[in-house]
Symmetry: C2
Subunit: 543 residues, 2 copies
């Protein structure tokens, strides 16, 4: 008995395209003599659907495509496809998150997800009705399978006896003899997430005393990045197969031997930083592709954030699709420009220089006079940042190129960014990286040869919006700040020191900026963006 | 037996302030000889908490305040207070949405909400564990009460037999003899919402064959506006008492006679438009108050949107706290300025004029040359809008005044607004109004005397960003557009005509602008903002 894991990257609501891709992977699995091919959760609709599920017609379109797929399944292969199914009852939410077990010309059985994720970026309880998994058994050639969908296996207690869920639906399933447990997932990436998946998969495998195949989605959907890395695990936790990270993949294994049919496991061992790089590259690629965009641009300041973004953007879509801008004033050091120019040259990206000094002076004179401003003021700093935003958005309007924002998570946390200024842009690829991670990724790009001029990684960060300005004039040392951001925003832990107390207050005061931020590529456990929903009007001075 | 409905406006996470207010209302209820005083849902914590519930320390602070309240309750009165309670179990979500039944020095009983709203703006399933209401009976002086919290009574079938919920928790409650059914709510306003509440309350009252007291929160929380309008209903649907709309209120009634103890019902009959005006005024007031802001400003164009906003702002915080700006170019008609000036004068609001022609010309020359632009382009329109945003934000930076955005729902739906231009601002008070509603409200302000110059209500709308421009050059007639917005966005209904098909496509294309929009005061069934979560990267060309 041969099983194929089809780790695909679907388009959200791209039913025709997804259908074609699914049929292609079925054909390829069949070629490799697979008896069963397993696709990720909701692979036909795409995932996460958010409020697209308001529109019944989209689920109708998906079901038509499912019927067409079923007609074209070759004889002798069984297929597990994920999607949404309308509830027939008048009561409750309108859909199930379903897995369709299909053979040629027939949907043999349909399974419904029981645990609905409603934390962080997920909102399944809005439109999805709870199913029941206890009878999710099925047979192929006398082999017994048990099927789960994503969150269904995430109710096991952690080492402290805690669980997000009151009841574990797995624990209510009869422990019949099972040859393979299956989980179809759309599980987003963050560093160390794979370890967590392995924990829950092993717990489930142990319960059934059977090996388990975990098939994850790959691809990015706005803020969310699915990393693939599908795998097969024995009840003892031995990994028998690993699919690629951040790329589509098809692997066939033999259920009797649990040997990877492709002889070797295809997943290389990579560092966390390298995985992070791959995540961000895929995030940028897919955001562009899935929004029918081809080019990006942004300001290159001579600082580390925009330097890293230039590397990532060139990596994702090629330097020929990137346009960089230097938009200096008198406050920008000559060195910043020289470094920016060198970096652009190293990457082969065009750099266009437009001084904003003249327009800054022009508008400053008018505003200072109209508003009786005597001294250099925060307003003048923001004015520079907003003039840059205005020029970069003009370029968007003229060319259709996507403006990327360069802000990192530590800046966003402190509000050290100008709303409608450097926060302008359609995507914030670095918005979930601490400053430390920005440096780590930059060093990774310099591992072979010096792409980012070393000086950029050494000189003290500065917004260069007033004479002699340094980030550290307004912010705690990045080392401390980064740790505080991780502790408060990602781990939601108690406040431990003065920096964290400071940050907790600042977070509350600056929430209004993040409300209007561009989508942020999520690569941590908890990112700013739609998965973090803080109110503005509230009286907690700290948290 | 006398019952008090204490319809209060709490501050989210303003525990000390809420405690003082609750104690004040208890004292006033006691003065009026009430035996039981009922507060709204979560009145001590404030509502909706969103991700503030990440922070356990806030619930600890709330519980301390609850203990202090309980110590100070006078003898002889029972109090029902809403708040969050930590779950003691290690499994499941961390809190219950609770009602605390208290007397002097004692919490007598605690009740937990069973149905957790997870649609539109609500996200209770993120942090709240489901309770069970079937034993929610309690007695005072031999009178039997049954308690529910907000959504608990919203599972009854509608006239088509539909319900959002699979099971109705009320239908599982034993039908004992009950003297009064209670619902503690935080139910947001939209036009006609009261009718819906009355429907569900009457259904519940009928089930128990008992009168029902519905105590609603009042006040605004970012986008959400609670309207109060608490009431008492007989099982036959006869309204025995109505509290004020959009204001705090305390009413005592006699349980035996169901007579309003204050002799007359305090709720006046008002038109839908008048209620809408009150909602928006409260929304602006509370957003400012609860964010420690005092003043607002925005551009007055001579069009109807900014004219209405000027009326609402003056209404909400007084003309002395509003600053208007005229920021003309050569494309603005002289008449626009004359009308704006007249309106500002009528309202007693200062109007400051700063021509942006010079800076527009200055930057246009640079950009046209740098980017080889030959003809007048959309970029030039956006440039004007963004220069206005830049000036208005400079004023914010200098004075701490809040910039309001003037866009309405029909504009937002079509993306007929410039991102980082006229979309700049911290609050969008008109963002959930169709153009028709903008006119209706404007006429309401003119009902007594002409505040908004009549000509503003007659002349064709124009963004005045290029010569001779009219909204109707780019958009369908507002009459048709408004209906399409209501049908698609609010009712989520099937597409019926060419305008709706056009709008469905445009909605998909312009989602990226709304992702970065300011908070919108929600006054309809479904508004843009946090309650409408559409993805950007998706392939559905239409819906």
């Amino acid at each position: 008995m041969r099983i194929a894991l089809a780790q695909i990257n679907p388009d959200l609501a791209g039913f025709e395209k997804n259908k074609t891709k699914i049929l292609d992977y079925i054909a390829r699995a069949k070629e490799k003599k697979a008896d069963l091919v397993i696709f990720p959760e909701s692979c036909l609709f795409g995932y996460h659907p958010f409020d697209l599920l308001e529109r019944e017609s989209l689920v109708d379109q998906q079901m038509s495509c499912l019927k067409e797929i079923v007609k074209k399944i070759p004889a002798g292969i069984t297929v597990l496809i994920g999607g949404f199914e309308k509830c027939k009852k008048k009561k409750g939410r309108p859909y199930y998150n379903a897995a369709f077990l299909c053979v040629k010309n027939k949907i043999v059985k349909t399974f419904y997800k029981e645990l609905l994720p409603t934390g962080d970026v997920f909102d399944e309880a809005r439109f999805i009705e709870k199913g029941q998994i206890k009878n999710n058994f099925f047979k192929i050639k006398d082999r017994q399978f048990f099927l789960t969908i994503c969150e269904d296996i995430w109710a096991w207690e952690d080492s402290k006896g805690k669980s997000l869920y009151n009841e574990n639906p797995i624990a209510k399933v009869p422990r019949k003899k099972v040859d393979l447990v299956i989980n179809m997932s759309a599980s987003p990436f963050y560093t160390k997430k794979l370890k967590l998946r392995e924990y829950f998969v092993q717990k489930t495998a142990q319960y059934f005393r059977a090996p388990m195949a975990y098939v994850n989605m790959v691809g990015a959907q706005d803020e969310i990045i699915y990393d693939g890395q599908s795998f097969v695990l024995t009840p003892k936790g031995e990994k028998k197969l690993s699919c690629l990270a951040f790329a589509e993949d098809l692997n066939v294994f033999d259920l009797d031997t649990l040997q990877d049919w492709n002889a070797t496991s295809r997943r290389k061992r990579e560092t966390d930083t390298e995985l992070l790089r791959q995540a961000l590259v895929l995030g940028i690629q897919d955001f562009l592709k899935k929004n029918n965009l081809r080019k990006v641009h942004f300001g290159l300041s001579g600082g580390v954030d925009s330097a890293l973004l230039a590397c990532l953007a060139a990596d994702a879509i090629g330097p020929q699709n990137v346009q960089l801008f230097a938009l200096p004033t008198q406050f920008n050091q000559e060195e910043s420009f020289v470094l920016a120019e060198k970096l652009a040259k190293n990457l082969g990206i065009p750099l266009k220089t437009i001084s904003i000094q003249g327009m800054f002076d022009y508008i400053k004179t008018i505003l200072d006079s109209e508003f009786s401003v005597q001294r250099f003021h925060l307003m003048h700093e923001n004015l520079q940042s907003r003039l840059r935003g205005l020029i970069l958005m003009a370029y968007s309007n003229l060319t259709g190129s996507l403006l990327l924002t360069t802000g990192n998570k530590s800046e966003y946390a402190t509000g050290y960014a100008t709303l409608y200024g450097d926060m302008c842009g359609g995507l914030a690829p670095l918005g979930d990286l601490t400053k430390k991670q920005v440096y780590e990724l930059s060093k990774l790009y310099n591992a072979q040869t010096e792409i980012i001029p070393e000086r950029i990684l050494i000189r003290p960060p500065s917004a260069e919006l007033r004479p002699g300005q340094k980030d550290q004039d307004s912010l705690p040392e990045y080392d401390k700040l980064d740790k505080a951001v991780v502790n408060i925003v990602e781990r939601k832990a108690k406040l431990k020191n003065a920096t964290e107390k400071w940050l907790a207050e600042v977070l509350m005061k600056t929430e209004f900026k993040r409300w209007q931020a561009a989508p942020i590529l999520k690569v941590s456990e908890h990112s700013f963006g739609r998965g973090r929903r803080y109110p503005l009007s509230q009286s907690a001075k700290t948290i």
